[in-house]
């Protein structure tokens, strides 16, 4: 799946929603402006990734981590993002931890109460499990 960076964009619906919520009620956005913001967002990710990667390399690490991204924000003169990002990261870590513990419990129970539980929560479980297996703490970004 060789995609050029310019071809990768973020979902219009989500971008539009974020824009609308940032602006006062009654304000609209032209299609061209929305499309340009969407492209800007992709460029932002690419630039931030590159910046973050420099920090990872400085630390002699091959894996980009959250603090590299935070350092990149400061480097890019978006210091005001750092505090809210840290809060989000905390919430994310709590949620991930909750998921893991919930799964541990489910696994224990599944052993003793196989049929009922697993059928009921089949969807959630399977999807979550797929997600967990796909994304562990260190994710392989193949290049």
């Amino acid at each position: 799946m060789a995609e050029r960076p310019e071809d990768l964009n973020l979902p219009n619906a989500v971008i539009t929603r974020i824009i609308k919520e940032a602006l006062p009620d009654g304000v609209n956005i032209s299609k061209e402006a929305r499309s340009a913001i969407s492209r800007a967002a992709s460029v932002f990710v690419l630039y931030a990734t590159s910046c973050a990667n420099n920090f990872a390399m400085k630390g002699k690490r091959k894996t980009l981590n959250a603090s590299d991204v935070l350092s990149a924000m400061e480097e890019m003169e978006f210091q005001r993002f750092v505090a809210p990002l840290k809060e989000s990261l905390e919430a994310y870590r709590r949620e991930q931890k909750g998921k893991k513990e919930a799964r541990k419990d489910k696994d224990k129970k599944a052993d003793s109460e196989e049929q009922d539980k697993s059928r009921e929560e089949e969807n959630d479980d399977d999807d979550e499990r797929m997600e967990e297996e796909e994304q562990n703490d260190e994710e392989e970004v193949d290049n």
């Binding site: 979902p11 800007a40 990710v45 990734t49 590299d68």
Partner: protein
């Protein structure tokens, strides 16, 4: 007290398909849904799409899940910021519709957006 803007052109938005727990990197709009407001919200942008952008960098070998998440959130903050900054120019032009030129003005005027120059065309 929602102001009805006469003649407003609604932006056509495809119906988002919400698939619980799906991390499919396929095409289509993945709506992460409206979560709790405020900085501690989880990401709205689908992490898979952000991850695809990260992978596009040939110098990057591995990225942690947390890194992708923080990037997604940072991008959301960026979108909010640039929309608000561009809107200032629309207000100056006494318009209630944000236009491409407002964005261009913001990019030219604001140092933090210098990295965008020449990339949006």
């Amino acid at each position: 007290m929602a102001a009805a803007v006469a003649g407003a052109v609604p932006v056509p938005v495809p119906v988002p398909v919400s698939v619980p727990g799906a991390e499919a990197a396929g095409p289509g709009e993945e709506a992460a849904g409206a979560g709790p407001p405020g900085p501690a919200r989880l990401a709205r942008l689908p992490l898979a799409r952000v991850k695809a952008l990260v992978k596009a960098d040939p110098d990057v070998s591995l990225a942690s899940q947390e890194a992708v998440f923080v990037l997604a959130r940072a991008t959301e903050l960026f979108v909010e910021t640039i929309a608000k900054d561009a809107y200032v120019y629309a207000q100056q032009g006494k318009r209630k519709t944000l236009q491409r030129k407002d964005l261009d003005n913001a990019i030219e005027a604001i140092d933090e957006f210098a990295f965008l120059e020449g990339t949006l065309d």
